[in-house]
């Protein structure tokens, strides 16, 4: 059945028509997404611009919209993220290493694996409930930086685990075999080779996880962070011995998304500008983190070609 050339050409033209149609539809869909993002950002910037002055970052919230700032909120956010990272990173990386490099194939491992996927799908508000029931009431951490940090750490744990596993998987088996062939133990192999080579990939995952945590509102509301806070938590470094203090862990706090939420619920119209400005800052923080992650990802790809 060798079709005539003209027939084939007609056929191809018809098929290619769908190529073009699809390419255009695809582009449109893409643009909807991208334009929404840009529109969102542009609108926030336009609204928030009058507030985005240095003193916005150095003042506490106030009932006067022009004076109100985000000092307590961004400090709170950073401290909460510190706790989150401190808990989620070791836990997540260790779990990822176990699952990828150690876990024998048995039902327990299977359960852990299914569970990690499942945990990634658990709504964040449910983590908020866990935090309320467990951290705030059972463990008596109260509505503190510690509670919030732990909650968000559990929330991003699956992200860190999955990212770790993926970067570990990218290290070729030949490197593992090479290490073993030289007499390395499993832990030597992991700690001397696999982990260092995948560290930037893991870091990327951690940053993505943290950038998700930074914008989370619901679980933090659940533990009760919607509060007027016009002071800073205790400083983590103190003037006297032992120079490090952990009192801030138990301090009340507020974070960026909460501050933003708070402002949006004010009766005065003017506060909407503050909310927009806080939104810009929050978005900029997230974007910056993502940009770092993207940069890292790009950089690793260029650096190591197995």
């Amino acid at each position: 059945m060798q079709q005539s050339v003209t027939e084939i050409r007609r056929l191809i033209a018809r098929h290619k028509f769908w190529d073009y149609v699809f390419a255009i539809v695809g582009l449109i869909c893409l643009l909807v997404g991208i334009l929404t993002l840009m529109g969102l950002f542009a609108q926030l910037v336009a609204d928030g611009a009058p507030r985005l002055k240095p003193h916005f970052f150095t003042s506490f919230p106030s009932r006067f919209p022009e004076e109100a700032g985000i000092l307590s909120a961004w400090v709170g956010t950073i401290l909460v993220m510190l706790v989150t990272a401190f808990v989620a990173v070791p836990l997540g990386v260790a779990a990822g290493v176990y699952l990828e490099e150690y876990a024998p194939k048995n039902w327990l491992t299977a359960i852990i694996e299914i569970n990690v996927t499942n945990l990634a799908g658990v709504p964040s508000i449910v983590f908020g409930l866990l935090a309320l029931g467990l951290f705030v009431y059972q463990l008596n951490f109260g509505q503190s930086i510690l509670s919030a940090g732990l909650t968000l750490a559990l929330l991003i744990l699956p992200i860190v685990i999955v990212a770790t596993r993926e970067s570990l998987r990218a290290v070729p088996g030949s490197i593992r075999e090479a290490a073993y062939a030289l007499g390395a133990t499993r832990w030597q192999m992991v700690s001397n080779h696999v982990l260092p080579y995948s560290s930037s990939g893991i870091l990327t995952g951690v940053i993505i996880g943290l950038s998700r945590a930074i914008g989370e509102t619901a679980p933090v509301i659940t533990i009760g962070a919607l509060t007027f806070i016009a002071f800073l938590p205790h400083s983590p470094v103190s003037g006297q011995f032992p120079f490090i203090s952990f009192e801030w862990l138990k301090d009340p706090f507020t974070v960026m998304p909460i501050q933003m939420f708070n402002w949006t619920s004010r009766p005065e119209e003017e506060f909407q500008l503050n909310a927009a400005a806080a939104g810009v800052v929050l978005l900029a923080m997230t974007l910056a983190m993502n940009a770092v992650a993207i940069f890292l990802r790009y950089h690793i790809r260029k650096k190591v070609k197995w």
Partner: protein
């Protein structure tokens, strides 16, 4: 140098079977490995050459479901290196391996060679330096890299990388060296270099090499084993195998009638 007429037995595989899960990849392999000689393993793709080679340093232990059955004794102490009671790490410290594709670590040239020593707990800089130089010299790559020991190993060419991997394997003073198609990823010149190097190395080590290139086997080895479908079809002096093989299948393979 020990080119004795009666070769010394360095290791011996005795009725070895090997299973990948349910799949039996090796059946009743019995084969001597002579001291300070090169033994080549040839055979069509999938016949079990690599599988057999990797039994010698217990590489199969790394993956679940693999099972050995039979013995490989290592002389002079006559220990069965496949025994589950023997620590595979111990085995790997005595028998080192060079892989098909050069696989240096993404570390400096120096650290690549020093790694085996570090694993053994040696961390004194002067000792390391001495050993690394010695290994690189023996792998015939010292002159090319001596000025850039701190460069990343990835910046070397494929042939250089493979010689680096050989140096890495040499640095730990193994008793046997295993080579799994060490030149198949290399160009003709690099191949020639490595073949020369092996001729040099066999003065001091026992070598087991898998190759898919019969000419290479003929060029470098003292003994050759022809494997087919997981069994040894014929083992003999390399000269004998390539001129007057006993088994008609060996002949068919060598003359390219199949494979």
């Amino acid at each position: 140098m020990s080119a004795s007429v009666q070769p010394v037995l360095k290791a011996e595989s005795k009725n070895l079977n090997f299973y990948y899960g349910d799949f039996k990849a090796l059946t009743g392999i019995s084969l001597p490995v002579h001291d300070k000689k090169i033994t080549a393993l040839i055979g069509p793709s999938g016949c079990g050459k690599s599988t057999f080679l990797r039994c010698f340093n217990r590489m199969h232990d790394l993956y679940p479901g693999n099972r050995y059955d039979g013995e490989i004794t290592l002389n002079p102490d006559g220990v069965n290196i496949l025994s589950p009671k023997v620590d595979p790490i111990e085995v790997r410290m005595r028998i080192s391996m060079v892989f098909q594709k050069p696989n240096p670590f993404p570390k400096s040239i120096f650290e690549n060679v020093a790694y085996g020593l570090r694993v053994r707990g040696i961390s004194k800089r002067s000792v390391l330096e001495e050993k690394v130089e010695e290994a690189l010299t023996n792998a015939a790559i010292w002159n090319e890299v001596k000025d850039r020991l701190n460069d990343l190993a990835f910046n070397l060419s494929g042939g250089q990388q493979q010689r680096l991997c050989i140096a890495r394997a040499l640095a730990i003073d193994p008793e046997i060296m295993l080579f799994d198609e060490p030149t198949s990823a290399l160009d003709p010149i690099a191949t020639a270099n490595i073949e020369e190097l092996m001729a040099e190395l066999k003065k001091r080590f026992t070598i087991l090499i898998v190759t898919h290139n019969m000419q290479q086997a003929a060029r470098v080895s003292d003994y050759t084993a022809f494997l087919y479908l997981g069994e040894v079809v014929e083992f003999n002096d390399t000269k004998k195998i390539f001129t007057t093989p006993d088994n008609p299948r060996t002949e068919d393979y060598i003359t390219g009638r199949f494979g």
